[in-house]
């Protein structure tokens, strides 16, 4: 029941959710001829994908070093956030009940993993390349700005600040989950909430391109909202982090949309030459 088990559970659940969503959201018609479109889209967004991979790789390397730098130069904003919002999270937790805890724990781990991966698959399979480009650029912006914030701000979440009022519901309910989240997060990095920002990003992109997958939009919004609430309900994030995350998502999607539209306007002969500001940056990085 170590990390491997948790990962296996996660993979199984996410794959199952993907299959379910492919059947209901994309549908039989949408899947017809999908492999060809996926290949075409992959070619066209390859530079953007490269950018995201670079950002993720930098993130992976810098995250640990970032914590050290953070203690040297960062500002400990824990007290300020606590003073700003007081017992908001504690009040939210006052409705805690085992079914709710189970639901939000599942949403926080499985729902989130599904929510951020499914649109990548779905948008790759559609005709238009703007949704996938928007999404990938927005993800990259989220991670890049998130990392900057994590270095600049040291902040502990409510479960680590007011343990007398806020319980660490996720780990109390499902201790092994910490093996997974401990890989991804450090407990000093709570502002902003990347769980929230990436979820809201998906929801915003789903809203913009709701004509393509009409069923995905309400599902994405509901799931994103649940995830945002779950981060607070489980005692992991402050409301401030969630607001910060949503703001980050808005910025990231705005940049993503601009990049995607710029790429689309630069002509139908997409893909042969990297276009758009971000793609040019990506190309420069790759050079």
């Amino acid at each position: 029941m170590g990390l491997a088990t948790v990962l296996a559970q996660l993979a199984a659940v996410v794959v199952a959710l993907h299959l379910l969503a492919l059947a209901t959201v994309v549908g039989r018609d949408g899947l017809a001829g999908a492999p060809g479109r996926v290949r075409a889209n992959l070619r066209r967004v390859a530079p953007t994908l490269g950018l995201l991979v670079v950002v993720l790789a930098v993130n992976g390397v810098v995250r640990d070093v970032g914590v050290e730098i953070s203690w040297l130069i960062g500002v400990n904003v824990t007290g300020a956030i606590h003073a700003l919002e007081g017992g908001l999270v504690a009040r939210l937790q006052s409705v805690a009940a085992p079914p709710l805890t189970a639901f939000f724990s599942a949403v926080y781990v499985f729902g989130y993993a599904f929510l951020v991966t499914f649109p990548v698959v779905a948008y790759l399979a559609c005709e238009d390349d703007r949704p996938i480009r928007t999404l990938l650029v927005a993800y990259a912006i989220n991670y890049a700005l998130g990392l900057v914030c994590y270095v600049l701000f040291i902040s502990y979440g409510p479960r680590n600040v007011t343990p007398e009022a806020v319980r660490s519901l996720l780990y109390t309910n499902w201790p092994q989950a910490q093996l997974l989240t401990g890989r991804v997060n450090r407990n000093t990095n709570v502002f902003p909430s990347l769980h929230t920002s990436l979820s809201v990003t998906v929801a915003l992109v789903a809203r913009r391109y709701r004509d393509i997958f009409p069923r995905w939009y309400p599902a994405a919004v509901a799931l994103a909202a649940s995830i945002a609430v779950s981060t607070m309900y489980l005692g992991i994030h402050w409301a401030t982090d969630v607001v910060g995350g949503a703001a980050l998502a808005a910025v990231a999607v705005a940049v993503g949309v601009t990049a995607a539209e710029a790429a689309a306007e630069s002509g139908p002969a997409l893909g042969d030459s990297p276009t758009g500001v971000v793609d040019r940056v990506a190309a420069w990085i790759r050079r």
Binding site: M1, G2, D64, W71, N76, T78, G79, Y156, R159, N160, V161, T162, P163, E164, S168, Y171, T172, P175, Q176, Q178, L179, T181, G182, N187, T188
Partner: protein
């Protein structure tokens, strides 16, 4: 103009604010909750208080090394079973030294004198001196003692036996573990049937590895026995580095790396001849010699070795001496140490009794051939950091020790693997010569330390069979989880390491003993024990509580005998608290405690 001069002497008042630094809930199950409660009581008395959670390494760096704090909530290290531990903790001569020696900057003539007296006295005189120290500390509150917690651990009795009544803050506790009798029976049965089964049993689940799960990542990153901010109990570095003698549960120091020692008095001071065991070797196969021991004492008293070369074989009196921040109480007992021959070292002590002097033998011995090169000043990217010697800054990975376990590998923040050294003297030492219950090398060949982020996770790792013991003590709130799990046993032992609210007596108004005394009155220790520790702790008034050295009038019975709580049932009587502060010379402005600048 005269009016201006006369008026300028009268300066305005400013509110008293105190920042309490403490560990986040992930790192310590109780500290933050104690800090929040204490902050609430201080606020009720009109102080401005902030509580800031800080990661362990950073907290200890601030408190112990930089002295950059107002107050902290944390634990004192468990050196207090032996009363001489108080000397380093409270003597004002250590006020400016980094480490666990007087991090409070506490200076009290009377306490200093009594501490010095207790080192050299015996019998009645010593008890009286120690009683005076305890009274002085209880009254002037360099730290407000909260409680001695129970060390709660989840262990698996089906793989190893002998978990109970062990001290897991000492390597001896781990070294004395036995293979579980159930398991030995099973292995023996399997072997009796035929050979293939035996080999299968060995590969399948023979307990060749002791799997320890901890919530403290520091030992996976740093194994420097001298780095105060990275060490807590020092149990892992204790497996890597042998000491001349080991402190046992009774508080006595018994020979370990040493074969034995003899004390004599020369010029009224103790002198010891310590003989090492034969054929000792470092993990890099160099021999362990008396010169290493002499070097260790020189290094502990001055990590720069006077910043000189071969001439500084022993401790120098140089002004620039920087004592190692750990083992300071012990190293301060040693005047100098000299190797007489390959296996004999002569240690001359300062004025103290032989009993106290023996404590100085319980320090880890480090290899001269590795550490001599670390006495220069530490540099980062070519920039020298003057006072910090490389010996204090190095991560010391991989470490070269002489202990029963050698370094295997580490993944910083994640894992540490130690491998048994089968050439260690434990392999063929007679059990009668060994301290504690240690009777030879332990049955496991490897110690595998895994880091997790939370107590619940640590317990669930033990419950699911992925670990044998929670190496760091877990919070009382995990006890139901331990109880629910069939193969997991609960081990509860009384810890000698109390929770305290430590004050920085270098900063006004905490410089004022009367002010600290009043803060001491604002702690409802009984309520903390009931609410925060869920009853798994003992409130105390003396850091020596639990020993027979506590005078009767310092026993914590219905309340704190010296600074009883100003209030009841966890609620501060604000009027009484304010009155006490006013009596101490402080004023209130609109309900806020103020001081004149």
């Amino acid at each position: 103009m005269r009016r201006l001069r006369a008026a300028s002497g009268w300066e305005s008042v400013s509110p008293v604010s105190i920042g309490i630094a403490t560990l986040p809930a992930d790192a310590d199950p109780y500290a933050l909750r104690v800090a929040q409660s204490v902050a609430g009581w201080f606020r009720a008395a009109g102080l401005r208080v902030t509580v800031t959670p800080v990661a362990p390494e950073e907290l200890y760096r601030r408190v112990l090394i930089r002295n950059d704090f107002d107050a902290f909530v944390g634990r004192l290290p468990a050196r207090l079973r032996e009363p001489d531990g108080l000397y380093a903790l409270l003597h004002s001569r250590f006020g400016s030294e980094p480490g666990w020696q007087n991090p409070f900057g506490y200076a009290n003539f009377d306490v200093d004198e009594r501490l010095t007296e207790a080192r050299a006295a015996t019998g009645e005189t010593r008890s009286e001196a120690l009683a005076a120290v305890q009274h002085g500390v209880a009254r002037t509150q360099p730290f407000s003692l909260v409680a001695f917690p129970d060390a709660v651990r989840a262990v698996r009795g089906d793989r190893f036996a002998g978990w109970t009544r062990r001290d897991y803050r000492s390597p001896l506790g781990y070294l004395a573990l036995d293979a579980s009798p159930e398991r030995t029976d099973r292995a023996a049965d399997a072997g009796a049937i035929d050979e293939p089964t035996e080999t299968a049993a060995v590969t399948a689940d023979e307990p060749s590895t002791l799997r320890v799960v901890v919530t403290d990542r520091r030992p996976t990153e740093n194994l420097n026995p001298l780095a105060a901010e990275f060490r807590w109990s020092g149990v892992l570095t204790g497996l890597l580095y042998d000491r001349l003698g080991h402190e046992t549960a009774s508080g006595r120091v018994e020979p370990w790396l040493a074969d034995g020692w003899e004390f004599e008095r020369v010029d009224g001071r103790p002198r010891a001849r310590v003989r090492l065991r034969d054929d000792l070797a470092w993990h890099d196969d160099e021999p362990v010699t008396a010169a290493d021991v002499a070097f260790t004492y020189a290094l502990l008293s001055d990590v720069t070795l006077g910043r000189t070369d071969e001439a500084a074989e022993t401790a120098t009196e140089s002004e620039a001496a920087v004592a190692a921040p750990r083992f300071r109480g012990r190293s301060s007992l040693v005047a100098d140490a000299e190797a007489l021959d390959r296996l004999t070292v002569e240690i001359r002590f300062v004025d103290c009794t032989a009993e106290v002097a023996t404590r100085a033998l319980a320090v880890p011995v480090v290899p001269e051939h590795v550490w001599r090169g670390r006495t220069g000043s530490a540099s980062v990217g070519g920039v020298d950091f003057g006072a910090a010697s490389e010996a204090l800054v190095t991560n010391n990975v991989p470490p070269v020790g002489s202990g029963p376990f050698a370094f295997g590998r580490n993944v910083p923040g994640d894992r540490l693997v130690l491998e048994r050294d089968d050439d260690h003297f434990l392999a063929d030492a007679a059990p009668a010569d060994l301290p504690g219950d240690v009777d030879g090398l332990p049955p496991y060949e490897r110690v595998d330390v895994t880091v997790v982020g939370a107590d619940e996770t640590a317990v669930s790792m033990v419950a699911s069979g992925d670990a044998d013991v929670t190496g760091t003590a877990v919070g009382a709130e995990t006890i139901p989880r331990i109880g629910r799990s069939e193969p997991v046993d609960l081990v509860v032992g009384r810890s000698a390491s109390p929770y305290v609210v430590g004050y920085n007596a270098r900063r006004p108004p905490l410089t004022n003993p009367r002010f600290r005394n009043t803060l001491g009155h604002l702690l409802d220790r009984r309520a903390l024990v009931d609410d925060v520790f869920e009853g798994y702790a003992w409130p105390a008034a003396s850091p020596l509580a639990g020993t027979d050295l506590v005078p009767p009038d310092l026993r914590f019975e219905d309340g704190h005998p010296v600074t009883p709580f100003l209030g009841s049932d966890g609620t501060v009587d604000a009027a009484a608290a304010r009155e006490t502060f006013r009596e101490a010379g402080y004023e209130y402005d609109d309900g806020t405690l103020v001081e004149r600048d």
